[in-house]
Symmetry: C2
Subunit: 427 residues, 2 copies
């Protein structure tokens, strides 16, 4: 493992200087090798699934484990889209003349070595490793134990496809043992960034057990708040979509807040629509007085990510209580207001401290593909580096390049020379 | 302490929505209160210095502890410059039409609560707290024990000046006890970012003892590499300035690398110039064969930050060995090449994995003021978030604001509606 990490670090230096053309050729090479080895991949996946069935792996997990022709097509489609994206490395972000003949450039560059840890889905391996390639990073991958054989074949196809096009060895390494994961979490000198994907317990475990920076999110406790000025039709549509359009995801609404002044009008409409969508409702005392049959929400519900057809509903005094509730119980992921009053929605979006703040639309929109980012590394609820849906730029940093003709600081300290600090055109 | 942090978090919501005008008025208010209380500040500082002398605090530390009329002028000058900077919050960074009536905006916003820990210099308190104000953040400050009374008066002047202009209470809190620092380091739910300033042991201690992200740098092991194609005059000037212009700083050169093919020509010139500047030289075997009197450099020297008039010198086979040496022993801070061959300097700047990579100029240039950033939060050797000299932008993050008219994801998932992903003009 230590050797693999050192090799990855070494390869990262070469990866950083590849041209866009070289990287795109490598991505095309990976597509070719995946296609040539399609049957081998499917066979490995069949063995994984057979073993998982024998081990009594639950059905939803089994489903995510499948890597068939359709999944391969999806993966290849993703790589083709990546080839089409602009080259992210070497972009000039800032240029300043500090003095005559002394020019400062800020240039995008890869982060270095990415540690990617994910649960069962083998398609994540293809997606993340090709994202790392496009952004010029090395990657250490650890997939779910259930997908061991599939991941092994996929990783070796990717390594082979890239090697065929001359990429440095060691830029990708597939970790198979648990001991190696523990080692990986401790290698904060060798690994620059961890990107975990999986359940919130899983991500939290990674965050709690490593000093390496983690990009991602644990909880996704998202809110839809229905303001007094909301159009009732829009409010109900947006809240039901936020909860019920797809429940097993981080951007699904888990709590609906309703202004007390309109709860009498909104609640019956909302309950009907939610129940029609098969959603179980847990409600606050005010709501249960209005509709006595509703199940009771307890304190714990406000900080629960159901990831299921369950929602908590609470009446609030108004905008301020809604914002306070969200900043207290939310996870800083995605929170929406439904309101026709723009003063109210501006108050909400400027004060709710979340990566994604929405007005009159479903929380389910917070997603890199829907945002038009082309490729998604993940969604981050951290406030440093990348926040919200993260595209390729989340795998990049920058460096300052200063080019002179022999300038020394002593001349500026003595007043013999002076800085000009003239902004240069970067286009 | 916990209450102070909670108050800071609460105040952060109000700080985030202040206008540029409100913040600039508050900064002007701070200048006024500092001026009104100048004598009180100087008196407190005199008491701190008397106590420090009694405690046998060493002279260089005593010097940094001084806060006199000149330091106050400097601090006020810094605040005036801050007032002159563009408002950093609320900047539109990206705008995309996802579909008709569904617009995505990415907007800069404060990070939230900053924990600032610094050693003796009281001017750092003024600088950092006003930077936090300008960027709309709350700040918890912990200064050096030696400056206790000075810091107390300064923090209370800043709080009063800001409060006069209507800023929320609790946005600034001055920590005085060591117990509170330990508490602070453990409050990763309440504090978003730590900015430590001080010795490398001090910064490393903070990094090792908190799960809160840290922006800064511990070591500054910077290199000046003299390539075979270097102009000898430029090489010597740049190397001597890098080492000797000011030694007690992170961007001073600690190791000089020289291509073996030119070491016979360069070394005598370099040694003369370094010795004339009072620098003690520790040299590799190759160099000591050329100039027998030189002191021996041992393995440990390559990873030592002298912060003194001492430099290590090593002959290398060429560009690749130089890059490998720097990536292995350096701290990713600032590294320079002296070369007239641009293929060589391009190789160097693209492969050296440091925040600042320089060509034909002194490592001492890596600094926010010299870069023209107007205000400096610090220099970061981390690769996530901000890297290199960090201006106000290091205290900012962004949020995605999506404004719709009732859009739901179900319509796009079913194919009834389609995303347009049209880039909008952000100027």
């Amino acid at each position: 493992m230590y050797e693999a990490a050192r090799n990855a670090r070494k390869a990262a230096v070469d990866m950083a200087v590849l041209t866009g053309e070289q990287k795109n050729r490598a991505l095309a090479g990976i597509i070719a090798v995946l296609q040539e080895n399609a049957q081998t991949i499917f066979d490995a996946n069949t063995r994984d699934i057979a073993q998982a069935q024998k081990d009594g792996v639950p059905a939803p997990l089994l489903k995510r484990l499948v890597f068939d022709a359709k999944k391969l097509d999806g993966a290849i489609h993703g790589i083709r889209a990546l080839i089409g994206l602009d080259e992210p490395v070497g972009r000039l972000q800032l240029a300043t003349e500090l003095d005559e003949g002394l020019e400062l450039h800020r240039i995008s560059c890869p982060i270095g070595v990415i540690g990617m840890i994910f649960e069962s889905r083998p398609d994540a391996l293809v997606q993340i490793s090709t994202l790392c390639l496009k952004s010029g990073n090395s990657v250490l991958l650890k997939g779910g134990r259930e997908a061991l054989e599939t991941n092994r074949v996929l990783a070796s196809c990717i390594a082979e496809g890239a090697a065929r096009e001359g990429l440095p060895e060691g830029w990708i390494y597939n970790i198979e043992s648990r001991e190696e994961v523990a080692q990986m979490l401790s290698m904060d000198n060798e690994i620059d960034l961890l990107v975990p994907r999986g359940s919130n317990e899983f991500v939290r475990y990674i965050m709690d057990n490593s000093r390496i920076p983690v990009m991602g999110h644990a909880d996704g406790i998202c809110h839809t708040y229905i303001h007094a000025s909301a159009d009732p039709g829009i409010a109900v549509r947006v809240a039901v979509d936020g909860k019920a359009q797809y429940v097993a995801v981080c951007n699904a609404t888990e709590t609906i807040l309703i202004d007390r002044s309109v709860v009498k009008i909104i609640l019956p409409l909302l309950v009907n629509a939610l129940e029609a969508a098969g959603v179980r409702i847990k409600a606050c005392a005010v709501c249960r007085e209005l509709i006595p049959g509703l199940e009771e929400a307890v304190e714990e519900d406000w900080s629960t990510e159901y990831l299921d057809l369950i929602v908590s509903v609470k009446a609030v005094e108004g905008l301020e209580e809604a914002v306070d509730h969200i900043n207290r119980y939310g996870s800083g992921h995605t929170d929406a207001i439904v309101a026709s009053d723009t003063t109210a929605s501006d108050f909400f979006t400027s004060r709710v401290d979340s990566a994604n703040v929405f007005v009159n639309c479903s929380t389910r929109f917070s997603d890199g593909f829907r945002y038009g980012f082309g490729a998604e590394v993940g969604i981050s609820t951290g406030k440093l580096h990348a926040r919200g849906p993260v595209g390729l730029e989340g795998l990049l940093t920058y460096k300052y390049k200063l080019t002179g003709t022999g300038q020394i600081v002593a001349d500026y300290a003595s007043g013999k020379k002076h800085f000009t600090h003239r902004k240069l055109d970067i286009n």
